[in-house]
Subunit: 440 residues, 2 copies
């Protein structure tokens, strides 16, 4: 009996066959298939500063914190690190200090849940908010594919809100709210990445942040703010805008934090700050964080305290400032972003049918072209031109191929940027020539 | 404005207010509230062998494996440990070697997904199998509360199957299957812990294991086998029965593995072995593991490679045998179990209204009494008698208080067992006296 089959994919939850989940697989596979291609696709952090000794050093630093700051004896410290532990995690005090220092966010540590990366934070929030079949989620489009995928797993419909050049079209947000409510739906929250968004690279202006908060308050809407890239402005002075959460005086914002780009991805540690006050069925009022923790207890129990300790040690080494801890990283990313934008300008002088935006920081630039950009073009790019990037179509919740592609600068050297752009220019020139030529 | 409220718990997914999720919270809270009580409640592993140096040593051992066995240079090894990585994890080869050695299970490493503890493994399997509103899950009752909780989060109805003295009543399983199908439901799988089950302590006989596999095949049912305690027989010779997966020749069993009890809980590493063959919508056939990995990519992305390396190093130190790695631990648990059972016999000589089972291994013993055992009795036990245990009611999917309680021997010393049993005997004697006395 060759190739016997036990199940059909249609026997499984429909999410596993959804474009949002297959997308991630396709992009990983093509990268594995063309390992020698230059990748302007990967949004991974740079590896230049990875240090073999760091995890051990950070673990030791965190142990010292347990002893000196928290007064734990050796037995207690071993229990903290090795045993089952607090569902909400053991970094809450350090996260609160970090947010106060770097973001001017004042937070009760008990409103923080430490999670298995920011992805779990997102998942817990979506699970909590999808209470019934009328509930829908709004998300700025184009959207991070991890958000769409998590929503799919929870059968949580996502209604796109136009991003546009300003990062979020507030009029469209209001229109989508009206449309959803007219259809009998209950919009629970709007997902937004206000700083150097993935994939658009765009940031919301300070005025739009305030308007968005006012709108959320007027419309009784939560905002789910995802901020993995905020620490990486390309500005020489490192100037940053306040996060939505820093401006939030009415507990409208659930804030998602990641240490993947600011410390390392391999710890898989992130967090959610959810200080919304929830009345329980017994009348007692607690933080939304506590409800998220109940969910977490049934998804991953708690985040590895060993992994948390690695991150905690890194925070402690820099007095809990990640701005301080990422001086070298910020310089790399800012330099790469400037080089990429300059490189595009040099290769596509005006007038050119190729355009791009100039983000003020982060990892991503969007290049627009006068033809649809699909997976077939990416495959040709990898095979014939040796350069990888991401079709923007992957970040839209429909199957139409958008005429744009995303470039990432985080995991390449300046030399790879130059060579990668040469290859991309060759591809785009070839594609433009083909399309201009009359059909044979 | 004091105590302002932003949300009502009824605005959130109903699972957060479900007894299955509140149960865990209550049990944690009472333990925190009475820190000086002797806990015969906690199912945590013993802390006696926790070693400050172990994580660093195991991490180094795993690095040596990356270099010597996998040929990774320093840059590649740093990428493996610190960067985003393979969704299915980096321990698959070692898990396969462990299963071959300790369980005589022969497995393709690609059918393994390394997860954030066994809880995530369970969650992924349930998410995959709950494909639509007709799907239901069967679970041997009493059931591990983490299974019930995960099912609640996914709106996956759980139909109890009588456990009974043999661990699983096969006639009732057949009856429940018939009943579910008659009601238009589609039973997807039956969850079972064949070895030293939590909470019952009971193990399935070899004959019942074979009958269960035959029934699963005849009924086209998957079995989800959870095996956190199998390595801890109380038998002096360490004799164990083959797992369902070891007996499974027809890919009926999805096997859940945990390193929480055999290495340490703080790494939060477990796995699922899912070698069922699934035909995709494109006609290609792959492992169920690959479908679970797609789900995982949207829940936690991947399991921390640093945490995986800690577990991997421990496996490598013992040639991938966890039987070999747990000689001391097995002696502790077996000794504690025998002491507890002997202690019960000494304190409740026949004829006694108090009974208990005598498990052949694991962490748990069930004590039966002639009155309902509820949270109020537990609270009185903690406050007045200084001993904690777990009402069996928490493991049943209805609100009736079962006349039984679970004792755990894993996280106590022999002295604490003796003293804890003295206190428990005082409580039960007092409760029996109260109930025998005419109402005042």
């Amino acid at each position: 009996m060759s190739d016997p089959v036990d199940l059909d994919v249609s026997d499984l939850h429909p999410a596993v066959d959804d474009p949002a989940l297959r997308s991630m697989n396709f992009l990983n596979e093509i990268a594995q298939h063309y390992p020698d291609a230059i990748s302007l696709a990967a949004g991974r952090p740079c590896e230049e500063f990875f240090d073999d000794d760091a995890p051990g050093r950070w673990l030791d630093r965190f142990r010292r914190h347990l002893a000196e700051d928290l007064g734990q004896d050796a037995t207690q410290a071993r229990r903290t690190l090795f045993q089952y532990g607090r569902t909400k995690g053991i970094l809450h005090e350090l996260v609160a200090r970090n947010l106060a220092l770097d973001e001017q966010i004042s937070v009760d540590p008990d409103a923080v849940v430490v999670t298995v990366g920011c992805q779990e934070a997102m998942f817990l929030v979506l699970r909590a908010l999808r209470a019934g079949p009328r509930d829908v989620l709004l998300a700025v489009s184009p959207t991070y594919v991890g958000l769409t995928g998590a929503a799919r797993l929870l059968d949580f419909p996502v209604r796109p809100v136009a991003g546009g050049p300003a990062g979020l079209d507030l009029a469209d947000l209001r229109a989508q709210l009206d449309r959803a409510r007219a259809a009998g739906e209950r919009p629970r929250a709007c997902y937004v990445m206000p700083d150097f968004a993935n994939p658009s690279g765009v940031s919301l202006s300070l005025a739009d942040r305030r308007r968005l908060l006012d709108l959320a308050d007027a419309e009784d809407l939560l905002l789910v703010e995802d901020n993995p890239y905020g620490l990486f402005p390309a500005d020489d002075a490192g100037r940053r805008l306040p996060t939505l959460k820093a401006l939030d005086t009415r507990r409208r914002v659930v804030y998602l934090g990641s240490f993947a780009k600011t410390v390392l991805p391999g710890a898989r540690v992130g967090y959610v700050l959810a200080d919304q006050r929830v009345r329980g069925s017994d009348g007692a009022v607690g933080f939304l964080a506590d409800e998220l923790a109940k969910i977490k207890s049934m998804v991953t129990v708690n985040t590895s305290p060993i992994a948390q300790a690695v991150i905690g040690g890194r925070l402690l080494e820099h007095g809990c400032s990640l701005v301080g801890a990422n001086v070298r990283e910020r310089a790399v990313y800012a330099g790469n972003l400037r080089r990429l934008v300059a490189g595009l300008a040099a290769r596509f002088p005006p007038p050119s049918p190729v355009g791009w935006n100039v983000p003020r920081g982060g990892f991503f630039v969007v290049v627009t072209v006068p033809f649809p950009v699909d997976d077939a073009l990416l495959t040709r790019s990898a095979r014939e031109f040796g350069v990888l990037w991401t079709p923007m179509a992957h970040f839209y919740d429909d199957t139409a191929a958008a005429p744009a592609l995303r470039l990432s600068v985080s995991a390449v050297t300046p030399g790879q940027i130059d060579e990668g752009l040469d290859r991309l220019a060759a591809l785009l020139t070839d594609e433009l020539r083909r399309r201009a030529a009359p059909a044979a």
